[in-house]
Amino acid sequence: MGKRTVKNYPSPRLMQTIGATNQSPSEAIGELVANCFDARIGENKLDILIDLCDEKIVVSDDGKGMTDEILERAVCIAEDMSQFIERGENAKGHFGMGFKTSCSTLGKFYEIFTRPIGSDIEYHVSFDINDYSQRPSGADAWDVVIEDGPQTNNGPLNGRDHGTAFVIKSLSDKDIRASAVVAYLGEAFKGHIETGDSITVANDTGSYPAIPKVRAFIPGSKVPIDVACGPDNSLHIKGWVALDKQTHNDGLYGFNIYRHGQLVDSWNRDWFKSHLMTSRIFGEVEMDFLDATFYKQGLQQSEYWKVALKYMHEFLLPIVRASRSISRGGNINSPVEKKKIISALQSDYDIADAGPTDDNSESSSDDREKPESTGRSINNKVKTLIKEDVLILADGTRIPITLVEMTSNGHVNAPFDYIYNDAVDDEPMLQVVVYTDHPIFQGKDSQNTIRILATADAIFRVLIDRHGIDSHEAFNIKNQWILKRLESKDVD
């Protein structure tokens, strides 16, 4: 029996494996942007630039930069930076993994350039993931070299007296969509942008500010949230919830949850039952008391979260009920029913009627779907025109048939009809007209069957109306034609 102590040095390969996250490029860049906010100088507004040009990513800010001592901590794995920076517990960075994880997700080589405020020195650190992968384990395997020198005019911080820049090269995704980054950052840092901070994304085509998205809600459905729960009402939840004008089968509904102004969870639906009928519910809440995982994707299931979950489930019951009611049986298109539902909602939450045009919610005044096109064109009304099997009567009369599928726009109150050319000078011609906007076709997918039935119906009627054939004989002819038609072409 004996015992011994083994030196337990994590393998430097960890630098590579921490980059194997499911973060999208936008989310990884968002993590670097979050670090910028921790470097805010007092209450100064920040100017953050994300440059995607030249096959590299540069995220730079005009914050206070990092001193030599702070930088030493920042480059260490899993160092809790909130212990060392001014913002303390309000800092977004807590786990000391954010920028390493995100940079490793984005590329194989990254650098930090930082100019501390009040100093004329610029510090520089670089990380080569391939180099780390090849290092043997050991006490010095994690060594980081910090260079310092005078500020230069040709680096990523050019033009900034102080601040920090992350530069990522050897990118994993060499074709990052700048628009996706702009859209994500606009949502993720909505609170910061709305209070004056600036986030700009540049690519080869220009520079674009991140702007929060404006959504269209049902007027009067926006409910403010300003509640407290938990021990001594210490858990403060602030924000709003509203009903979208449309249901979502794309999963893009629920709550965006922010912590200290940063999006930590998108489309969270833990507080109500996820269903198409509840898919109008959209809201935003600030929950600063939450912990966040080091990559800030998904909430930790803390006791505080469980308390909030129970509270918000109860709080949202009226709007869940309203979402179900308004999505049921065409109520969304009934102004009377909609008004009743919204009035009940406002009564439940004891809020005043916001009026017909809710704040930032209206892009148009009605709920009707946009018309496909206002111009007249064959493609807007006629879906297709095809030749059907010719009809040959017992006396040898040939009746060629075409079938046209088109919209009636309510003019003809029938699913199908016919047009018959019996002009003396012309060969007879039967045209079957299928009105695809008739309710009978909504949700159906057996186009071929519908064509056959419509043609059969037209044959039946034209034989009686125009050829004076007895209805029983016409019925038999029609059915024989259907059988022949079924033999000649497959039905869906």
Binding site: R177, D250, G251, G375, R376, S377, V412, Y418, I419, N421
Partner: protein, 217 residues
């Protein structure tokens, strides 16, 4: 004039074989709308189907000079509805086609005049969204899959579907009706959410434009 008199007048015009399409359309629509007649009952009274009468009334909505040109080509009744649905340019192309149509009437194997007119008009109008989407380039579908992934705008199943549809097209196959329907739904939602838009800022703008063009947006 009462409704009964109006109906009789409409039937008289409808049955008159010597009137041009222009005269029929103008006179019947004037009577129909002045007397506030109803389509189904009027059609039954004059011995026409609702669609036949609706086709003539729709023709009357064309500008007079366009309707005159249509009328001069003496189009068969089975072309009225599609002509009335078309733009002026599409109609003028159809009228040209009608000029020699009398020699090419339908047989079992030849195109009917209705088919030929429709083909000519679609050529002028450009293909329908469904037709465009059925043959949408594979690169466009793959680029849209990448965008949806970057934006996290679709479910994983839908993103994978766009990729597989792209590979299907890469093999030179035309998308099936079901695939087209799904592609149309997905791309429409991406367009509604402004994940794809004209005048964007990304390197795949040409692909976005192609997707929007296929949707007819």
């Amino acid at each position: 004039m009462g409704k009964t008199e109006s109906l009789m007048h409409v039937r008289e015009i409808w049955d008159n074989q010597n009137l041009t399409v222009f005269d029929k359309a103008s006179d019947i629509s004037a009577e129909y709308y002045t007397a506030n007649l109803e389509l189904a009952s009027t059609a039954a009274y004059i011995g026409a189907t609702p669609s036949e009468l609706d086709a003539l009334l729709s023709l009357s909505e064309l500008d007079d000079d366009v309707l005159k040109k249509v009328s001069e080509s003496n189009p068969p009744i089975t072309t009225w509805m599609i002509l009335a649905s078309a733009s002026d340019d599409e109609i003028l192309a159809a009228v040209e086609e009608l000029k020699d149509a009398s020699q090419k009437r339908l047989t079992d194997n030849l195109e009917s005049v209705e088919e030929r007119l429709y083909t000519v008009m679609v050529q002028v109008a450009g293909p329908t969204p469904e037709q465009s989407l059925a043959s949408i380039p594979c690169d466009v579908l793959l680029a849209m899959s990448k965008r949806a992934k970057d934006y996290k705008a679709l479910s994983e199943k839908e993103i994978n579907f766009l990729s597989s549809a792209g590979n299907y097209r890469r093999a030179g196959k035309i998308l099936t009706n079901k695939q087209v329907k799904w592609v149309k739904d997905i791309l429409s939602r991406l367009a509604d959410a402004e994940v794809i838009k004209h005048n964007g800022i990304d390197s795949d703008q040409a692909m976005c434009d192609a997707a929007l063009d296929a949707l007819g947006r």
